[in-house]
Subunit: 476 residues, 2 copies
């Protein structure tokens, strides 16, 4: 039955991570390339991971009093020009469409600040209307993308974007940070991906923001991947879009705003982080299928084995369980397939196991086989899922921690970056200096950590006074 010899992953993750990633995504059926340049199709298996993320985050949004809404895909050209920095930052990547009837020019949204804040300027009248907290789940178009990398970088992707308005500057910043904390929890607890958190440098902050908070992950090939950002927008957009409110003292005032988002890139991060040479490894908490039951079929015991397998499926109804009863494939073929798809736990059950009232439990990440009494199965499954979730995180966290190298010496800095590690170094904060660092090393600043040493020292590159220590590394 094993006809398709190249069904499995044919390159090692360590040797050729780009090719490995592409194979894992395609063969694991998370996504497919499409005939539209730079765009991908998110297949059902990949989309169900996205759905788990959106379900989780919608629950969090409810707790945070953020409401979902939907704004137009098309953004009038004139809106885009109102906030100058924003327009400059996004102009290279905007796709434009011209209306046949009125010759109006519209952008396909690369982000929705402008179209949303135009509406906000009509909706917000009084202090009673604040805080206004709205989120949108939608598709985004950024046309600049040349080399598509499914989930990591493509011309169209899905995301959420939250856009809130406040009376008080302090509340605005506090909630921008609160959302960053939500993002950190999502990455760590759900995706088992540890992150660096901090503030973006002036060069890397969002176009139009006062400052940008970020969570940054670090992949096994030595490149950082930005996972989510939360922007304190100050009053710039409010001024540009004429958002005003009448305060308790009857005065017209300008409110404060933040915006924040993550995208389907999160799926790419968990694949890059946890996958291995056999394929995907999906953290239990986010796995569309958490347990697969593969019955070992022999003609004479077939009926009993299948019966028992069905019983076990019923017993595990609290989990996402797949019972693989396909007759046209061998057990070995099925093992490979479910390993490639990254299902956290495989249960094997054959006639010998039944005699011993056992099943064989196999964890995807460490391949350890463990006989388990059927009566203990529910407890053992939960334990195995919990342990796997934790082990995946710990492994990733070890990688991250061991990759960070403090330095204030330029030659050492070069060595760290060349070795594909993270340098934590004092930096002057100047955009021109950062541009030179990128030119010379291809490293970019990832973030300014919140915790800073008392003494910063001199900028690792230009030797001027350091403003803060900053994480630098190569990135996706």
């Amino acid at each position: 039955m094993e006809k398709d010899k190249d069904r499995g992953i044919t390159v090692s993750k360590q040797k050729d991570m780009p090719e490995w990633y592409s194979q894992v995504i395609i063969k694991g059926e998370l996504a497919d390339y499409s005939q539209v340049k730079g765009c991908i199709v998110i297949r059902p298996y990949g989309y169900s991971i996205w759905q788990k993320i959106t379900d989780y985050f919608n629950e969090r949004l409810k707790c945070l009093n953020v409401k979902n809404a939907y704004f137009p895909l098309l953004i009038p050209e004139e809106f885009f020009k109102r906030e100058a920095e924003h327009a400059r930052g996004f102009s290279p990547e905007v796709a434009w469409i011209e209306s046949k009837d009125d010759k109006a020019k519209y952008a396909l949204r690369p982000t929705s600040e402008t179209i949303m804040y135009d509406a906000y300027s009509r909706w917000i009248r009084s202090w009673r209307d604040l805080p206004l907290r709205i989120n949108q789940w939608c598709n985004i178009i950024r046309w600049e993308v040349k080399d598509v990398k499914p989930f990591i970088r493509s011309r169209e992707f899905l995301w959420q974007e939250g856009h809130c308005v406040y009376e008080y500057e302090e509340q605005c910043d506090r909630e921008a940070l609160m959302i960053l904390d939500e993002y950190k929890k999502l990455a760590m607890d759900l995706l088992a991906v540890p992150v660096l958190i901090g503030i973006k440098t002036d060069k890397e902050k969002f176009a139009g923001a006062q400052h940008t908070y970020t969570i940054e992950s670090f992949m096994p090939d030595g490149k950082a991947l930005q996972l989510a950002t939360s922007h304190n927008l100050g009053q710039g957009f409010a001024k540009a879009f004429n958002i005003r409110y009448v305060d308790r003292d009857k005065q017209n005032k300008i409110p404060w705003q933040n915006s924040w988002g993550f995208s389907t890139r999160l799926i790419g991060a968990l694949v890059l982080m946890h996958g291995d040479d056999k394929g995907l490894v999906i953290p239990p908490k986010i796995a569309p299928i958490q347990v697969v039951i593969v019955p070992i079929i022999f003609e004479d015991s077939k009926k009993r084995v299948i019966e028992e397998a069905k019983k076990i499926k019923k017993m595990l109804k609290d989990y996402n369980v797949e019972l693989d009863l396909r007759e046209e494939y061998s057990a070995g073929w099925k093992f490979n397939e479910w390993e490639m798809k990254g299902v956290p736990i495989r249960l094997e059950i054959g006639p010998k196991d039944i005699k011993k009232k056992n099943v064989i439990l196999v964890r995807r990440d460490n391949s350890k086989k463990q006989p388990v009494k059927i009566k203990d199965l529910k407890k053992k499954i939960q334990k195995a899922l919990d342990e796997m979730q934790k082990d995946l995180y710990d492994k990733a966290d070890k990688l991250l921690r061991s990759s960070i190298n403090k330095t204030n010496d330029w030659n050492e800095f070069l060595k760290i970056i060349n070795n594909k590690k993270i340098a934590l170094a004092p930096f002057c904060g100047k955009i021109e200096c950062e541009e030179l660092i990128k030119e010379k090393t291809s490293a970019t600043s990832r973030c300014i950590p919140f915790e800073q040493p008392k003494v910063i020292g001199k900028c690792v590159h230009c030797g001027n006074t350091g403003r803060y220590v900053v994480f630098f590394s190569k990135n996706y």
Copy 2:
């Protein structure tokens, strides 16, 4: 405090339904017009209705083994041309965008058959891959729209589109009908909107379909509104997109396909159907807020009343309950606001009620006030919600049934259509004949009901042999 005298709805539904509709949508905060011609913003209150519909339908899709996925917004021009009828049908409403880098022309999806079936042609290899059942939730662009009517007709809207592939023609048609039945249940049970069900005539069927099944509602202003359709696509698209599978006998075969969808138009339907001169009336099962508690505040009893109101909110935690504690508005102002927003049940609680261990329960649809013992409240709320849901449906159903008039006489047909009723009349089935009927009366065929009389009689318009009896009416 009642400053905004024109806050309420200022026209009667019966006298000027278009203006009434617009006011109810805007003042009820379901949606807003946008600066993008023909496009609306779905505000949080409107979006939460859509979320309830999508949550409900996602549960149904799970039971039907349909999986969600996501395909590109942009569709290559060449794809569109492959199925000739489909291309002809959609060409007037497609918005095109040209890529700067490769001069490729793309349509913003007006529907996704073509981009999805191109992918299907790569994914489907063997009978083992069938049936393939995929659904997509996404935004749709149809540029032809001139007079935007929020939710009913706009250049961009949200929808679901299911696209399935089968080995057997019979299964393909059976499941297309099964979905129609799901749509009927959604409209009837959730939205309290009764429907006519049947098949579209050749003139009205989907471009590229073998035949189209439909559910049609009938609004209080005497116009039909198509709510959802399910298309048996036959093998036309499979041939055009070269979808083939190897059957058990090793032969290459052409599969059968169906596609089906409903959109945010459903929100428009429930608003038109149930609203009244005070504003929205939202059926309990779909209401974002099912119960609003308005405490009647006097300075001396304020503390106790608020305490009791909070207790009641806690007691009703199984429902979506809003406790309106805003101090800057009077109780009367709040009553008007929540009536405009169509909340099914209002609970009033004041010091006198507390003394009697009562609250006052007011149903939105019939304004009946009823004192209820607090200890019985949970039971009574459920009863009131159930009764209101049923009463709304019954009222709408009575309207629908009483609007249908059988006729086989052309003059009578004219009278029925002029009276804004539904004519059930024998029809020859010819496209040209139907076009003439539309020209002369502005009525269109809504559907061919599944149940047909034994003897049809002659076509009500041309006098030739009737093929079936058909529902005709004006429509949105």
